[in-house]
């Protein structure tokens, strides 16, 4: 599975961008981004609200087409946007089983329950998601990543609405994924929850600078 408009030469690089710009209604959102993420590496996308963090992540997976410059993704990826992708009328376990089936795996109730338990939601496993709090819903979405076979995780604000304890659980999940040869690109606006191997700050760009791009 590969996305983007350049061929990658180095097998160890999972995401690469060269002078990537994203536009929205002809407005350039941030200064050019040139980054690469290696196997076992993580990239934190920082920036104030509205700086284009979400747009950058969506551009990488082909959901935002107004771009300039080049980028590519060389491996299977998992995307988690602001919208968590949970069906409100379904229980956490049902949502996980659905996600397994959607990603071509055999539906497995017991592993779904195990993952729900891992993020600390065991007692809510059979409560429809509409009765869960924002943080609990977030945990359900995190539980879905646990048995994912996708190598690259692209996560939009994964730490938002999590309490300290759950943030620590997420950090350990990140570490485990990276040790297993995965890589992570995530956006964050909260300070120092996780120490990524590299980070990029999205800076607003002036009109005259843009002429050069």
């Amino acid at each position: 599975m590969s996305l983007g408009n350049t061929a990658l030469l180095d097998e160890n690089i999972t995401v690469e961008t060269k002078n990537l710009l994203c536009f929205r209604d002809d407005r350039c959102l941030f200064a050019p981004i040139s980054e690469e993420v290696r196997v076992g590496g993580s990239l934190e996308v920082k920036g104030r609200n509205g700086s284009g963090k979400t747009t950058l992540l969506r551009a990488l997976i082909g959901l935002h087409r107004q771009t300039r410059g080049s980028f590519s993704i060389s491996t299977s990826f998992l995307y988690q946007g602001h919208k968590l992708g949970l069906d409100e009328s379904m229980t956490p376990v049902e949502n996980l089983v659905w996600f397994q089936a959607l990603n071509g795996r055999k539906a497995n109730q017991s592993s779904a329950f195990r993952n729900i338990d891992f993020v600390g939601l065991a007692e809510k496993a059979d409560t429809p998601c509409q009765f869960l709090s924002a943080g609990q819903k977030k945990k359900v979405s995190i539980a879905r990543w646990l048995d994912s076979e996708k190598k690259l995780w692209l996560l939009d604000e994964p730490f938002t609405s999590l309490d300290t304890e759950s943030s620590n659980v997420l950090v350990s999940i990140f570490d485990k994924h990276l040790v297993n040869g995965g890589s992570i690109v995530y956006s964050n606006h909260i300070d120092a929850v996780y120490t990524p191997s590299s980070e990029v700050r999205l800076e607003p760009v002036e009109l005259e600078d843009l002429e050069e791009c």
Binding site: Y79, L86, V97
Partner: protein, 217 residues
């Protein structure tokens, strides 16, 4: 599993089935109490009426077809997942048809009775609706996919798809009319079937493109 989820979703939210059905039965009742005393029985008007009412009541459920999935982000996950999105679109269409078209096919004899259609024609009416209602779901799917990103796109959705539905109503109404007149379908049923088949060929592809457009915002 994916298909099962769709049916579970419908089962937990029965208004998706009940609302269009109640709309249909109410509208039929209104026609029955206003026109029937004047006309005696609907005669040749019944065919057209039945199809117009079935079409309008299907519209009431179309707007919500992708709306919930779009709002909660499952639509993104569906299109990014590893299952062929073409299959997912067909699945959506099938479940919509089961929850609206099929239900209307089942209550068709009740409608026919209210409008004073002859009893011998009930079977043929059911067949006619069975052949034609998939076209309504298929064409409606395209409109729902196009308008899902527009917030409340209900009115626009109707404007977009009603003109494309004309053949369904024309051939559907025509075939019931020839049933009433001569007791046979004539060519109407074949054309209705052709419309459904054409929609089956074109609509899923168009829906897929429309959904991609809608989530690329």
């Amino acid at each position: 599993m994916l298909v099962r989820r769709e049916f579970i979703a419908i089962a937990r939210n029965p208004s998706l089935v009940i609302n269009p059905l109640m709309f249909l039965l109410m509208a039929v009742t209104i026609f029955a109490i206003t026109l029937k005393p004047i006309l005696g029985d609907m005669g040749r008007a019944a065919g057209g009426l039945i199809w117009v009412l079935v079409l309008l009541s299907s519209l009431t459920s179309l707007d919500s077809l992708f709306r919930k999935d779009y709002d909660n982000g499952t639509l993104e996950q569906l299109l990014l997942g590893e299952v062929n999105p073409f299959f997912l679109v067909l699945m959506k269409c099938f479940t919509h048809w089961c929850s609206s078209g099929l239900v209307m096919v089942i209550v068709a004899p009740v409608i026919a009775m209210s409008l004073g259609l002859s009893q011998d024609l009930y079977g043929s009416l059911v067949l006619c609706l069975l052949v034609g209602t998939p076209a309504i779901s298929l064409i409606g799917l395209v409109g729902a996919a196009l308008t899902v990103a527009l917030g409340r796109g209900g009115a626009l959705l109707s404007l977009l798809i009603l003109p494309i539905m004309f053949p369904v109503v024309i051939f559907g109404g025509g075939s019931i009319d020839s049933l009433v007149m001569s007791g046979e379908f004539g060519g109407g049923l074949i054309w209705l079937f052709a419309t459904s088949m054409l929609a089956l060929g074109v609509a899923p592809i168009a829906t897929l493109f429309a959904l991609r457009l809608s989530i690329e915002i």
